[in-house]
């Protein structure tokens, strides 16, 4: 499981990031002592660090330089100061990416997974999600069940992923559509129905019948 260390002094954001990472099968830990960021990094040994620029005591730039003295771990800066100077500074300090506040969960996850993929062999042991014995690999869009593994089409993967992340909860059609829009598929309701239909057929082909249930008038649910 990938470990992400979060250095952010706003509790709301820090918790938001942690729960967002958890949805994607990653573990997040938030810094506890802003004087000892380095010690905590060394102790936790994260695969990736998310660093705010404005922090108590010493700023994010300082810690970035400190971390870079001993480690090549990917670092993403998050900040509300988005002028080009700050972005240039952040990258010069050795950061790998920059996210402007306020950001979407999808943007955060896209950047985190992209960096992990580039740095480590992400597909091998990427976050996997499991439901009713079916395992979805978020690194290579493959679904395996009872020893058979199949490739999912982009939209099918996206729908299944959203349902698995919200296991045992009804997922509204709106939320599924938004998830597809995030991957630049501007689907309408009819297209969504067609896509879900296709996904069901694919699932049936490897023996997962009635995997996704329809909640009439609301959305879909994946129940265990």
């Amino acid at each position: 499981m990938y470990k992400v260390f979060i250095v952010e002094d706003d509790r709301g954001i820090a918790e938001g990031i942690t729960s967002c990472l958890a949805n994607w099968g990653m573990e997040g830990r938030v810094v506890s002592d802003f004087m000892k960021v380095m010690d905590e990094v060394q102790e936790y040994e994260p695969h990736l660090i998310i660093l705010d620029i404005t922090l108590p005591y010493m700023g994010g730039y300082h810690w970035c330089q400190e971390i870079r003295k001993t480690s090549k771990v990917p670092i993403i800066f998050i900040s509300s100061a988005t002028d080009n100077m700050n972005i240039v500074m952040a990258i010069n300090m050795g950061a790998d990416d920059f996210i402007a506040k306020p950001f979407d969960q999808s943007v955060l996850i896209a950047k985190v997974t992209a960096l992990l993929r580039r740095t480590y062999d992400f597909s091998k042991d990427a976050g996997t999600l499991e439901a009713k014995g079916a395992v979805l690999n978020t690194g290579n869009n493959k679904l395996s069940y009872n020893g058979t593994e199949i490739d999912l089409a982009r939209n099918e993967y996206r729908i299944l992923l959203t349902l698995m992340q919200n296991k045992n909860k009804v997922v509204s059609r709106e939320k599924l559509m938004e998830a597809l829009w995030e991957t630049d598929c501007y689907v309408d309701e009819n297209t969504l129905t067609v896509n879900v239909g296709r996904l069901r057929k694919t699932l049936e082909s490897i023996g997962l019948k009635d995997f996704i249930k329809t909640k009439f008038g609301v959305g879909y649910i994946l129940e265990e």
Partner: protein, 318 residues
């Protein structure tokens, strides 16, 4: 100038005329010989004219200096008084200019800090709301989007006239700007059941990524706001010309020429109390700064087509 001079010396001229009158009438009454009158008359006239010309030249010289805003050495108490007042006014003006500019800088600084401060709670709320799947959460998220857009507008407004250091003109991938902009409004499109038709342009344009993003987001935001049925088409209609076309309520012909003016809301804006008339104005200003051109075509009831000409005119590539 000469007329003004004569007018300013009118008291001397009248005085001389009275004196001439007194002398002439005395000579006439006492019946003096013509020579005794003419001789001093010619001499006096020469003396008077010489004095007059010298005086005029001096005044002319002074006038020329004053036109160049140079102050000639004051002659006499009155001029010294004037000069003292002028010096004092100059000093006061310098002071109030300094104060105004430092007040302005303080204000800009504060609003910039404020805009950054407000982004942290927005970010925090956004993350929390996005982990909820309900109508309420979606509506709150839409409101949050609007708050964020207003904050962006404040920052844009503040930075608009700052030094050009904030503009980084380079070749950018247009689609990489359009896609995130569309994504930003995904929930609005879905909630209003609007369609989005975007064929990737594949275009590379010379522009500033951040500023152009602002313009495109603003244009899409308007399109979504004023469209209730149908949808929006984003396409490149000609090389370098990006079109954002909606099937919305449209803009009436008399409003159309003025929509890019500051504070102009037009009929649609007056109907919709939230309109501030600043969005499109900012777009126009940003486009001007980037060397792009923005224009609009519209038909009420049919829709609006905003076009951004991304071909940069007469601007040197950095």
């Amino acid at each position: 100038m000469f007329k003004d001079y004569l007018r300013s010396r009118i008291n001397v001229i009248i005085l001389v005329a009275i004196l001439v009158g007194i002398f002439a009438s005395s000579y006439f009454l006492f019946d003096m010989p013509a020579v005794t009158v003419l001789y001093p008359l010619v001499l006096s006239t020469v003396a008077l004219l010489t004095a007059g010309i010298i005086d005029f030249l001096l005044v002319l010289n002074k006038h020329k200096k004053l036109v160049r805003k140079e102050f000639p050495d004051p002659s006499g108490t009155i001029e010294k008084d004037y000069l003292a007042i002028i010096e004092q006014l100059k000093e006061e003006e310098r002071f109030s200019k300094q104060k105004a500019s430092s007040d302005y800088n303080n204000m800009v600084e504060y609003y910039t800090v404020w805009a950054h401060q407000i982004k942290t709670p927005i970010a925090s709320m956004r993350l929390k709301i996005q982990s909820e799947d309900s109508d309420l959460a979606r509506r709150l998220n839409a409101d949050l989007n609007r708050i964020e857009a207003y904050v962006e507008m404040v920052l844009t407004f503040l930075r608009l006239d700052s030094d050009s250091t904030d503009y980084v003109i380079r070749e950018i991938d247009l689609d990489a700007i359009i896609r995130p902009a569309i994504r930003k409004f995904a929930s609005d499109f879905i909630a209003k059941k609007l369609t989005m038709d975007f064929e990737p342009t594949g275009a590379k344009v010379l522009s500033d990524e951040k500023w152009l993003s602002f313009v495109i987001e603003q244009v899409i935001s308007n399109a979504v706001k004023y469209t209730n049925n149908g949808g929006i088409v984003i396409s490149m209609t000609a090389p370098g010309i990006l079109s954002v076309k909606d099937t919305g309520i449209g803009i009436s012909a008399e409003d159309l020429p003025r929509i890019f003016e500051n504070g102009y809301t037009g009929f649609n804006g007056r109907e919709d109390k939230r309109a501030s008339g600043i969005g499109l104005y900012l777009c126009k200003r940003v486009c001007d700064n980037l060397g792009h051109r923005i224009s609009a075509e519209s038909e009420p009831g049919i829709g609006t087509d905003i076009r951004i000409d991304l071909n940069r005119k007469n601007i040197v590539i950095e």
